[in-house]
């Protein structure tokens, strides 16, 4: 039996009550552990919605999401928070760092609620900043960092609790070409450590590196998936 770390079954997501918008329709997919996958497709067709459902940020209208064979769509809020804390790291297009905290503190917030001791959280934050080549920026606030640096801090934060899965929503969408190149290098290096990475992207540079490519159009998963050789 294959080791599917992420599975979805007949996933549906509908917004609105009177006027219903079907964001996702009958999406079933399987993602193997340690793979690098991309979700592509036109804007507004449901890519990010799919990523949010996989990450347990939102609940499907119907269908199921399995993370490590746990049906997260049936979990209560606390259990879902635990899954997000332990197994999933998020990287957003707009970085989503907390402006009043330093780079190091931003990474530590992710560990603050995971029961990590302050000392361990501090050394882990420095280790992660070093990994993304920002060890000299640990005390810098987001307003003192450039776009590429901000995204690298966000990538470091997503790894804070050493999750198995990294979900990235347009991680290079707000970056210039050089910063994109740097960020991608870090993302690929992280993948080499065995993490499962799922990226929603418009970037062909990222897509062409993907082992699995899922295309979403009008909320449906286009068949067949393309698996890169």
């Amino acid at each position: 039996m294959s080791d599917w770390i992420i599975r979805t079954e007949n996933l549906e997501k509908t917004y609105g009550t009177k006027v219903k918008t079907h964001a996702l329709k009958d999406v079933s997919l399987k993602i193997p552990r340690g793979s690098f996958s991309c979700i592509i497709g036109p804007s507004g067709h449901g890519k990010s919605t799919l990523l949010q459902l996989i990450g347990g940020l939102d609940k499907p209208t119907s269908g199921r999401v399995f993370i490590d064979n746990i049906d997260i769509s049936s979990l209560n809020d606390n259990k879902l928070s635990e899954i997000r804390c332990e197994k999933i790291g998020f990287v957003f297009q707009s970085f989503n760092l907390l402006e009043n905290l330093t780079a190091s503190e931003n990474i530590q917030t992710a560990m603050m609620f995971a029961g990590t001791s302050q000392k361990s959280a501090n050394s882990r934050a420095l280790e992660l900043l070093d990994m993304v080549d920002l060890s000299d920026k640990s005390n810098s606030k987001p307003s003192e960092l450039l776009g590429g640096q901000l995204q690298r801090v966000a990538i470091a934060r997503s790894l804070a609790n050493d999750p198995d899965i990294l979900l990235m929503d347009e991680p290079t969408g707000n970056l210039d070409s050089q910063s994109e190149k740097d960020a991608l290098e870090h993302i690929f290096n992280i993948h080499k450590t065995g993490k499962t990475i799922v990226v929603v992207t418009h970037s062909s540079d990222i897509a062409k590196q993907a082992e699995l490519l899922f295309e979403i159009r009008d909320g449906r998963l286009m068949q067949p998936f393309r698996a890169t050789p």
């Binding site: 997000r84 804390c85 989503n96 905290l101 609620f113 302050q118």
Partner: protein, 388 residues
């Protein structure tokens, strides 16, 4: 980074809002401290006056109301309505150890009102335990001289040999009493018969202070006194309760004022926290995305409002302390406050008051933060992130 550091950073994020919210609770707690201290001080002042009087039973005229009782405790002018002849009859009751008449008259020294008390010198000296710092105490009950309290001597710069003039008659000061900390310090004393004669009064006194051998039998003694004369007879406790009744209504007023200030401060916190939640929806979403549970979000916002309470309590206590010191002279000039004695209305530092203020401030703030914290914790990660 600890959650406390995180919370502290959050409330300092908008410095202007932080200061104004803190000001709200500071003013609320400061008024609470100042007003309640004033009330407490008035209460202890009156209790102290009752202790100073040293009476088990007080015999007064038939006009009987809390303000008369207050005048007895404060040693102020009262109508002479008790026949002096009953003093001896009361003293003769078995079990009564002393019956000391007071004739309290309003007069003035250097155009400043003072109370002149007509006394039986020997009985009074024994009852009050007076001693003199200079001069010699009255040698007989018909001596045309006065003894003055230590504060009276200091205030009017009087010394032995000076004379005071009452009703056109000069009275040499023959004794300055040692400080007692009671109303005696601000009074002038004259032998009872001399006072009656000088002021052209019949043989009446203002009230009689009675001491007994066994307070358990007080009710019996009161009945015995009432059999002698148709007068108002009260225990010291009754007198005190009566005066404290006046203070009770003052307390309610002061507590209401402090309460309104605290409620305004509480709404200030609710407003600040609700605004903070609206502004920080994205942050809440990020925290939830990284695995923060609803309970932790609730805790963050309760801690933030509680921290406002802690800081507001500290600054409120300090401000209340300082303001009451600055305002005390003005408050004490108020006629109503002055009528209750000569209380010190400034806040005296007391650990119980301090901890009560801090605890109350934190409690009010934390309770004010309950609804905002609940609202914040109900946000789902997507609601928080999407609505930015």
């Amino acid at each position: 980074m600890s959650i406390f550091k995180f919370v502290f950073r959050n409330i300092l994020r908008r410095k202007g809002r932080f200061i104004f919210t803190l000001l709200g609770i500071t003013i609320g707690m400061a008024s609470f401290v100042a007003l309640l201290s004033m009330s407490d001080n008035l209460r202890s002042e009156v209790s102290q006056q009752a202790d100073d009087l040293g009476a088990d039973i007080i015999v007064m005229g038939r006009v009987d109301c809390p303000f008369i009782h207050r005048a007895v405790l404060a040693g102020e002018q009262l109508p002479e309505s008790v026949p002096r002849e009953i003093v001896g009859q009361i003293a003769a009751i078995n079990g009564i150890t002393a019956a000391i008449p007071y004739l309290t008259l309003g007069t003035s020294i250097q155009q400043t009102p003072v109370t002149l008390v007509g006394i039986l010198p020997n009985e009074m000296k024994a009852h009050r335990g007076w001693s003199v710092t200079s001069g010699a105490f009255f040698e007989d009950e018909g001596e045309n001289s006065v003894a003055i309290g230590s504060a009276t001597a200091t205030r009017f710069n009087l010394e032995i040999g000076n004379t005071l003039t009452f009703r056109g008659q000069d009275f040499p000061i023959t004794a300055i009493l040692r400080e007692t900390g009671s109303n005696d310090d601000i009074s002038v004393f004259m032998p009872l018969y001399v006072a009656q004669e000088t002021f052209g009064l019949d043989d009446y006194v203002s009230f009689i202070v009675v001491t007994v051998d066994n307070v358990a039998n007080t009710e019996r003694y009161i009945s015995a006194i009432m059999d002698i004369a148709n007068l108002s007879v009260s225990t010291n406790e009754e007198l005190l309760s009566s005066v404290l009744l006046i203070l009770g209504s003052l307390d309610v007023t002061l507590q209401l004022i402090a309460g309104v200030a605290l409620i305004a401060a509480a709404f200030g916190i609710i407003n600040t926290m609700m605004t903070a939640i609206y502004e920080r929806r994205r942050e809440i979403g990020i925290l939830r995305a990284t695995g923060c549970k609803r309970g932790a979000i609730f805790k963050i916002f309760i801690l933030e409002s509680g921290l406002y309470g802690l800081l507001g309590g500290l600054s409120g206590f300090a401000v209340g302390f300082v303001v009451s010191r600055l305002a005390a002279p003005l408050i004490e000039q108020n006629e109503f406050v002055a009528a209750l004695g000569n209380p010190d209305t400034a806040v005296a530092f007391s650990a119980p008051l301090f901890f009560t203020v801090i605890a109350l401030s934190v409690l009010i703030s934390a309770v004010s933060g309950l609804y905002p914290a609940w609202k914040a914790s109900k946000l789902t990660p997507m609601e928080a992130i999407r609505n930015v």
